[in-house]
């Protein structure tokens, strides 16, 4: 049996008028235990104070869980550590912890957040949960299967649209479950990234464009790993050109080419034409091209450098829809395992010291991207040099 991959993504939009979100989502894959722990925390109020409360809570909850501390003890420690709000005289941040092993054994601990949703394909599961002694912490234990999705969200999502005539109590969980189930029914393979984006934009829509609370949504999607091949740079020796072109042709999954010369080599080896997209372009990086049989063709180093920067800061959605760097990132984020095939031939034309410093060494940029994808976006990345 193929091993399960957990595709995970989250996004947030702060309350209208705030620049910082008061909800925090943290996750970590523990590679040698085949385990993933994720925490969504919602701090009291909004803005910086809420963000600090949520950040402290999420960090503590994540570390306590990774170290297998009993939940009662974690909850007490968190409660005792949080700073007290001077006005309301309480310290509060709700949290949901997902602790899942790759074989499917999953435990979800919830305190104060709206009830998470679990979908098996497009069907909403009704799971039993036990409530701990103090009546506030609930624990749900179940076995996940492939094609299951866990949807976590803050009350900004479930209460979006509250007070509207057509939805006086906001976007209630039942209604939300129905909408998500329909989305999954229409797009059975929808990625965590796409699904959470749809949920967030619907919440913002419910609030008529002005979120009345911080909106955060995270999706964990259990599935067969989706593979992406990113091929960049000409092979060190010309005799390997054929091998590179064959690797791309035989790859099971989507393929991306980053590099002008690389594109020329592949097109030559395959006997295909290259068409450059002269309609959509941005001024800072060269446009994309089309080769029959490749899913995306972009320029090399400038596009990759920009993609690395956008990945680092997480602001890729600010880039134009047709921005080549954003297109590359969207490919990265909708896949689970990203294989880089890096050509090691040095482009003599790029070695002139008078050229802009942006012309970094390809291998370094790829290493940086692979690191970011693994650490920040919880993907699996592998590098192969040719």
């Amino acid at each position: 049996m193929k091993k399960t991959f957990i595709d995970i993504d989250y996004g947030f939009i702060p309350k209208f008028g705030q620049i910082v979100c008061g909800d925090v989502f943290l996750s970590e894959k523990i590679k040698n235990e085949n385990r993933l722990v994720a925490v969504l925390s919602d701090g009291l109020g909004s803005g910086i104070r809420a963000n600090i409360l949520a950040n402290m809570t999420a960090t503590m909850a994540l570390n306590f869980t990774i170290n297998d501390q009993p939940i009662e003890r974690s909850a007490t420690s968190i409660r005792d550590t949080l700073p007290v709000d001077p006005q309301r005289k309480i310290a509060f941040a709700s949290f949901t912890i997902v602790d899942t092993e790759f074989d499917g054994k999953t435990r979800i601990i919830e305190y104060g957040n709206p009830q998470f949703l679990v979908f098996r394909k497009n069907e909403l599961l009704a799971l039993e949960h036990q409530v701990l002694a103090d009546g506030e912490v609930s624990i749900t234990e179940f076995q996940t299967q492939k094609e299951d999705r866990i949807v976590l969200f803050s009350d900004g999502v479930s209460q979006s649209g509250i007070g509207r005539k057509d939805m006086p109590f906001g976007w209630e969980t039942d209604q939300m479950g129905g909408v998500i189930s329909q989305i999954i029914e229409k797009n059975p393979g929808i990625s965590a990234y796409e699904l959470r984006k749809r949920i967030i934009s619907q919440s913002v829509l419910n609030d008529i464009g002005k979120p009345s609370d911080d909106i955060t949504c995270a999706v964990l999607y259990f599935r067969n790993p989706r593979k992406l091949l990113v091929c960049t740079g000409p092979p060190f020796s010309k005799s390997k050109d054929e091998e590179m072109a064959a690797t791309i042709r035989e790859f099971e999954g989507r393929t991306v080419l980053c590099g002008g010369t690389t594109a020329v080599i592949v097109a030559r080896e395959w006997g295909e034409q290259i068409e450059v997209d002269m309609k959509n372009f941005t001024s800072d990086i060269p446009p994309i091209s089309y080769i029959n049989g490749v899913d995306l063709v972009t320029e090399g180093i400038l596009t990759l450098c920009k993609a690395a920067e956008l990945l680092k800061h997480g602001n890729y959605e600010d880039a134009a829809r047709h921005d080549p760097a954003r297109l590359v990132i969207e490919e990265f984020l909708s896949h689970d395992h990203i294989e880089f095939l890096v050509g090691t031939k040095i482009n003599e034309a790029h070695q002139d010291p008078s050229l802009p410093v942006e012309l970094e060494i390809r291998r370094n940029v790829i290493k940086k991207i692979a690191y970011l994808l693994e650490k920040k976006y919880l993907k699996e990345a592998s590098l192969k040099y040719i």
Binding site: A263, V264, I274, V276, M278, S283, P287, V297, E299, A349
Partner: protein, 86 residues
């Protein structure tokens, strides 16, 4: 009448050495020339491998123009097409 064939290099080096405006050539072309000129792009035409040549490159009817810019290409086309518009 045969169309004039223009190929713009959109490679890395041409882009950083002043060619970032070149992809917009099609939009900057005067209306009356649109039927006379065929503009295409190339991911890299390979001229940059020759250290004697100066990017950005544009090929017009098979001839290479070095240190090309939108205005230089338009000027050249004006001569070729033969009836000045500006």
């Amino acid at each position: 009448m045969k169309k004039h064939k223009v190929v713009v290099c959109t490679g890395t080096l041409c882009h950083v050495l002043g060619g970032s405006e070149l992809p917009s050539l099609g939009q900057r072309l005067p209306e009356e020339w649109r039927g006379l000129v065929d503009i295409k792009g190339s991911p890299c035409m390979g001229y940059c491998k020759d250290s004697e040549m100066h990017p950005p490159f544009v090929e017009i009817d098979g001839e290479v123009m070095q240190e090309a810019s939108v205005s230089k290409v338009l000027e050249y086309l004006e001569k070729r097409i033969g009836h000045g518009t500006k």
